[in-house]
């Protein structure tokens, strides 16, 4: 259907934005996101994309402008990383609370200090409670596809929530992979049609007030609606990936499994790291270790029943976090989600959490091997499970 070309993760996202016929792009440069918006600017300058490019003075303004544009019914896009996302924090709640289908690419990067421009997922995880739908890709092809699926999901009248599509900084954003780029905009727009007429928007002929004061008599009801929309979003996400497969042939799922069926030991991870884990599973299998893997693609809404079901009969499960939440019940945000999921679904499976790869530290087979060694030890020796994360790859 398309043409396969070598693209960095950032370029793949820019091509997808072009295919979705986005109307307004507002962004502020930040490494490693910058090349997404640079590429989009090039498309606009070349006349390949008819969009308004807003150069703003900060990320706070970038998302504010996106919110304003989205409120008029426009299809909008923005992108950021790390400190940029942190500066957007206030507006993250505004976008989701006003139920505006903004799509934002997040190129994950560690938060300062010390200043670090490399990949970890702390920025993504810190935004987990802002009411956005969050997905994380693990290949550049997926980065491209996620943007297209994101618009369909965000603009669904049953959902109407902003979507954050994340990729790993540098590991994906600046690494070139073959990506099938769809060339027929009509097919993309048929899959993800602009349906601004089916939502409230600033229209002089039908005036509405967006963003009013909500006293204690009113506020709570809108948060209840938001909760429900997230619940529905999980169902709609299923529909979107199913239709995507029908139209474009590629299959995605909220949880991608690998060699899981007969696995004793399971590794749960996200993003580019999941690719390393997957390759490691192949090696472990050759060595006779029954290792399997789950990659969490959809983080918000979190597929709790689904993950609990997948790991219910396993010997031991290791959750690898590339983010750290010091002082939280467990330092790994993904671990905390999985632990809550198994508790709520009454699944009794030993769970061990690992933290690795912070600030762009490379995660190699040696590190995964260390994780598996820990898991084997805990499953064989019936020792008490650690209540704290095990740090992998940090110097003592």
């Amino acid at each position: 259907m398309g043409k396969v070309i070598p693209l960095s993760g950032n370029s793949a996202i820019a091509y997808a934005v072009k295919m979705c016929d986005v109307d307004v792009v507002s962004a502020y440069p930040i490494t490693p996101q910058t090349t997404i918006v640079e590429k989009i600017a090039e498309f606009i300058a070349n006349g390949e994309l008819d969009a308004e490019m807003l150069h703003v003075e900060s990320e706070h303004s970038a998302l504010s402008a996106a919110v304003g544009a989205s409120a008029t019914g426009a299809r909008v896009f923005t992108a950021t990383s790390s400190q940029g996302l942190a500066l957007m924090y206030e507006i993250l709640f505004i976008a989701s609370g006003l139920r505006l289908p903004v799509v934002m690419a997040l190129v994950t990067r560690a938060l300062s200090p010390p200043i670090n421009i490399w990949c970890d997922h702390s920025d993504f995880m810190a935004a987990a409670d802002t009411g956005w739908i969050q997905v994380m890709a693990s290949t550049n092809q997926e980065a491209f596809d996620d943007v297209i699926m994101a618009y369909k999901l965000a603009e669904d009248p049953r959902v109407l929530l902003p979507v954050m599509t994340a990729i790993d900084g540098y590991i994906m954003s600046h690494t070139i992979e073959p990506v099938e780029v769809l060339e027929d905009k009509d097919i993309v727009l048929k899959f993800a049609p602009k349906n601004f007429k089916r939502r409230y928007r600033l229209d002089p002929d039908n005036p509405v007030t967006i963003g009013p004061l909500g006293s204690p008599n009113w506020y709570f009801e809108f948060k209840r609606q938001h909760y429900e929309a997230m619940k529905v979003a999980k169902q709609v996400f299923r529909e979107v990936v199913t239709e995507f497969k029908k139209v474009f042939g590629r299959e995605y799922s909220e949880l991608e499994t690998y060699m899981l069926d007969d696995a004793d030991i399971v590794l749960v991870s996200m993003g580019g790291l999941a690719g390393t884990v997957r390759a490691y599973v192949d090696r472990a299998r050759k060595e006779g270790i029954k290792l399997g893997a789950i990659r969490v693609k959809l983080f918000r809404p979190f597929p709790q029943e689904e993950i609990a079901k997948l790991i219910s009969n396993k010997k031991i499960v290791g959750v690898i976090d590339r983010a750290l939440a010091p002082g939280a019940v467990h330092g790994g945000p993904l671990f905390t989600e999985v632990a809550t999921a198994i508790y709520l679904n009454k699944v009794d499976v030993p769970l061990v959490g690992f933290i690795t790869g912070l600030g762009g530290r490379a995660v190699t087979f040696d590190h995964i091997s260390e994780v598996v060694k820990h898991l084997k030890k805990y499953s064989e020796e019936l020792r008490e499970l650690p209540k704290e994360p095990i740090f992998i790859g940090v110097r003592e």
């Binding site: 609370g97 006003l98 139920r99 509405v208 963003g211 009801e221 609606q225």
Partner: protein, 107 residues
């Protein structure tokens, strides 16, 4: 207003959008008051200062012929719209002839 049953979350337009422009006019602010201004039409000299100073435009000018006991004839009177009056007391403070009294609300 506070007595009527408010709609549940399923009935409200999503995203806290207000679909009826100008519906703030329907709100009542009477519960905000501790004191209500009462205008004495006998003492009032119709200068219009209360009307001018009221931050909520809650003083209304009413066309009526009013003759005071001392025989003064006015073509207008000033009255308080108690739906919008929040009881701030600015009118009573500004009145040059002390024709406005703040009376405690009793509920």
């Amino acid at each position: 207003m506070s007595q009527t049953k408010l709609p549940g979350w399923r009935e409200l337009p999503i995203g806290s959008v207000i679909t009826e422009p100008g519906n703030t006019a329907k709100l009542s602010f009477h519960t905000w008051r501790t004191f209500r201004p009462v205008i004495d039409k006998e003492k009032c000299v119709r200068c219009g200062l209360c009307w001018m100073y009221c931050p909520d435009a809650a003083i209304v000018e009413v066309k009526e012929t009013y003759v005071t006991k001392s025989g003064k004839k006015y073509e207008v009177s000033y009255e308080v719209n108690y739906q919008y009056c929040k009881g701030c007391g600015i009118c009573a403070n500004e009145c040059p002839v002390k024709a406005i009294t703040m009376v405690e609300e009793v509920r």
